[in-house]
Symmetry: C2
Subunit: 190 residues, 2 copies
Amino acid sequence: MATVNSYTGTMPTPDRTSLDAIVLAASDLLETDGLAALTMNAVAQRVGVRAPSLYKRVQGRDRLIQLVAEATLTDIADRLNAHSDPVRIASQLRAFGKERPAAFLLVMSPGAGTPVADDAFRHASVASLLRVAGELAGEQHALEAARTLTAWATGFISMELNGSFQLGGDVDRAWDFGVTRIIDAITVSR
Amino acid sequence: MATVNSYTGTMPTPDRTSLDAIVLAASDLLETDGLAALTMNAVAQRVGVRAPSLYKRVQGRDRLIQLVAEATLTDIADRLNAHSDPVRIASQLRAFGKERPAAFLLVMSPGAGTPVADDAFRHASVASLLRVAGELAGEQHALEAARTLTAWATGFISMELNGSFQLGGDVDRAWDFGVTRIIDAITVSR
DNA sequence: ACCTGAACACCGTTCAAGT
DNA sequence: ACCTGAACACCGTTCAAGT
């Protein structure tokens, strides 16, 4: 029966890292020092191998960034799916943005040319918003309502993280104002 | 009196390019081949010099990207300021995004780490939206209303350009739905 | 005063050679 | 089977040398 300390026989070399560790290291670098600092060398150093070894587990830097994006979208999905109130769901998305701004911007407003996550992941991340918007707006306008709500929420959070709200004022108040008015606006019976 | 063909005397060498030409070449490269293709070498080739010569006119690649962003924001400001109807202003912003998607994404949803335009340029670009939102919402809620409208518009257009609207449906209809509902929602007397 | 080739430090990526 | 050093082509940037 194999144990942790079992005899390894003629096994050449045990794995020194894993894909998960690589993606995690890449996420850390992204959040700490930005996308430019997410180099194959820096990732390799974090996981304790040399850069060429990474190519045994991931196709290249672009694919690694894509994996980071997909892992981020999964985290967002898990977080949003835990709630059913539209105000709370939107607020959870904003909280995520504040905790992991670089990851949020990577997946929610990828610049031109950044490797993009697979559709399934992007879909899952906003499933909650979609569902709740449908409930509010009725089947007739479910999709339009969902797009209005998600566009506003991602736009607002992105602008907040970008520092695009430079005119002072109370950003929290603007958020509350927006949430209230938009939910009201997409609700069918008013 | 100096003319175009005036005697140049002992002038060493006439300028072979200009900052404007450099920024224009960089904008073209961004739009055609993406931010990664906007290299100092590629820009230099377009304007007919070698890469090191660019440093006589611009501090480096990051600053050049920033200049492209600022020129883009000026273009957006000019375009939006030509109108006063909120629906039309929003629609002009969307039209710009479709004409120059890479430039739009660069300035409206810059990824983490991309060099960012000076506040004054960002401010000017959305001045029209701000003014019109103030008229709709009244002084009391002018800022919140402006932020709601701009967040929605930039969020929507970014998602459209990103291909984030993957669920089919009529995107134009979703736009019309959003514009109507949001303008209604931020208008004071309803 | 502007432009250039050469050089430097750094990328991502490939691959033969090690264990 | 995984890991590595060396190599390659490409970056951005600097600078002495040309005109």
